[in-house]
Amino acid sequence: MRNLDPVRTHEDSVLDLQGVAVHLGGRAVLHGIDLSLRPGEFVGVIGPNGAGKTTLLKIILGLLRPDEGTVQVAGRDVRAARSLVGYVPQSFAPDPDLPLRARDLVALGLDGARWGFSLGGARRRAKVEEALSWVDALHYADQPVGRLSGGELQRLLVAQALISDPRIVLLDEPLANLDLRSQGDVVALVGRVAHVRGVTVVLVTHDMNPLLSVMDRILYLARGQAALGTVDEVVRGDVLTQLYGHHVDVVRVHGRILVVGGADAESLTCGTCDG
């Protein structure tokens, strides 16, 4: 792995991966992953399909044990630090008739893992209202979740992840299926989460362009390996060529970045295209 950032593991890092390797189905899905993320940092995770992006998130969530290496959240083992990690899943499509309001979904993020049922209470209500207001969802707080638009749902999922006061929030392709305007809204919201609330954000996406204005560093995954650094450090022909293992060009047009693979462009992630 090429870690282009000089900052190595140090005291104030919230997430540390060292020498992480994962084998699935007899194949190394990730190997030699080292990374260390700071509080309030916004990191975009980019890579072609099957590069191991979701696998990386599963490791950070403690749902998958790496075969090699260590993973620490705020200096603790991931399983002990579960409450410090918020999660926005890759897909969430509730049934239109599900008897669940926006506020019920967000409330589950607060205490859904606890035994028994909640007796309500003013403090719980206030916390839910507060979380809804962060994501500007108060005006649809009482709507059934199954009838919300993709962007509205995405904001709720962010509120659900934030309500338990995590140090890190992981988002798996939150921009898929959103139009450009909703993409912009979600990116701006998540940017505020990182830079105003000081929560470290790890956001997986296929298109880096919507993130260019907010992203602090980019984690580029390909062939189970990673390159971490600023966009200018990582999204360069020579770096990506080494990562992919064959020639890659990086083209900048009108402030957008396009990654093109020389011989077999088909097999590469296209920096500006969807999906």
Partner: protein
């Protein structure tokens, strides 16, 4: 006065077999609706259809072995639920559920054939016999209801979260597989209580009907759960009255009444949407 007497003849409430029927029916309806609420949330209606039917094979086996039919029911509903949990992932649950159901029905027909041509206890379990139950059965059913109440009270939030948003719940420490198994065991519990009363063929309607209707009336999970239990109890009460008055099987009325409630739920949701739509400006 005349109509009142026809609808509610005195024996409806005073006959001791009817008193047992009221108690057992109410408990079974509440239990079925409680479990049915999670069935509907998880979109697992096929499981609710399959477990009671699979459990029927246990009763046939019990007759063959000379054992207690309800014990046979309990064992087979639990085994079929665990079988579905062991084989299935949630995506292909339909296939594995069908597989377990077919295996159980095959065994059931074998047991029936080996046990002799006529086994009245077994046929009673197909269609239920709410007027034939004794005081001990009532206590057993109340016990099952209490068990289910305690379990859902304890599991309510994690089971709810795992049902509506399994990925997030799992990421936050609610184990998906374990919740799936506990849910299936709750379905087995409800089936064990419901099959002797409303029968293996129609206990599905008592489990899914009220909860599906309630999903239209209730807006929050708590509301929907409460309404499901109310509709379930009301359905069994109406069915008992109609069955007593007409002498027709109670299972028929349970199926009909819950279907009517479901229709009302859809109508309500439809009207409510029209009402809300009025205030909105088309974009």
């Amino acid at each position: 006065m005349g109509l009142w007497q026809t609808l509610f003849p005195s024996g409806l409430f005073t006959a001791s077999f009817m008193q047992n029927a009221w108690l057992a029916g109410t408990a079974v309806a509440a239990l079925s609706a409680l479990v049915g609420f999670f069935v509907v949330l998880r979109g697992a209606t096929f499981v609710a259809h399959a477990v009671p039917r699979a459990s029927f094979a246990g009763a046939a086996g019990a007759v063959l072995a000379g054992g207690d039919t309800v014990l046979g029911l309990a064992i087979f509903s639990a085994l079929s639920a665990l079988g579905m949990a062991a084989l299935g992932t949630r995506r292909d649950q339909g296939q594995t559920t069908a597989l377990v159901l077919m295996a159980a029905l095959g065994l059931g027909s074998l047991f029936l054939a080996l046990g002799g041509a006529y086994a009245p206890e077994v046929y009673a379990l197909l269609f239920g016999q709410i007027v034939g139950i004794g005081r001990m059965d009532v206590y057993a059913i109340l016990g099952l209801l209490l068990l289910a109440l305690a379990a859902t009270a304890l599991l309510y939030r994690p089971l709810l979260w795992s049902s509506v948003a399994p990925d997030v719940a799992e990421a936050k420490g609610v184990p998906r597989r374990r919740m799936e198994i506990l849910f299936l065991l709750l379905v087995a519990l409800a089936a064990t209580a419901a099959v002797p009363i409303v029968g293996a063929l129609l206990s599905f309607s008592l489990m899914v009907g009220p909860a599906a209707a309630a999903a239209y009336f209730g807006r929050s999970p708590g509301q929907a759960l409460g309404i499901a239990v109310l509709i379930g109890i009301l359905s069994i009460w109406l069915s008992l009255v109609f069955a007593y008055d007409t002498g027709l099987p109670v299972g028929f009325f349970v199926a009909a009444v819950t279907a009517v409630f479901y229709g009302l739920g859809r109508l309500w949701a439809h009207l409510w949407q029209i009402e809300r739509g009025r205030g909105q400006v088309p974009v």
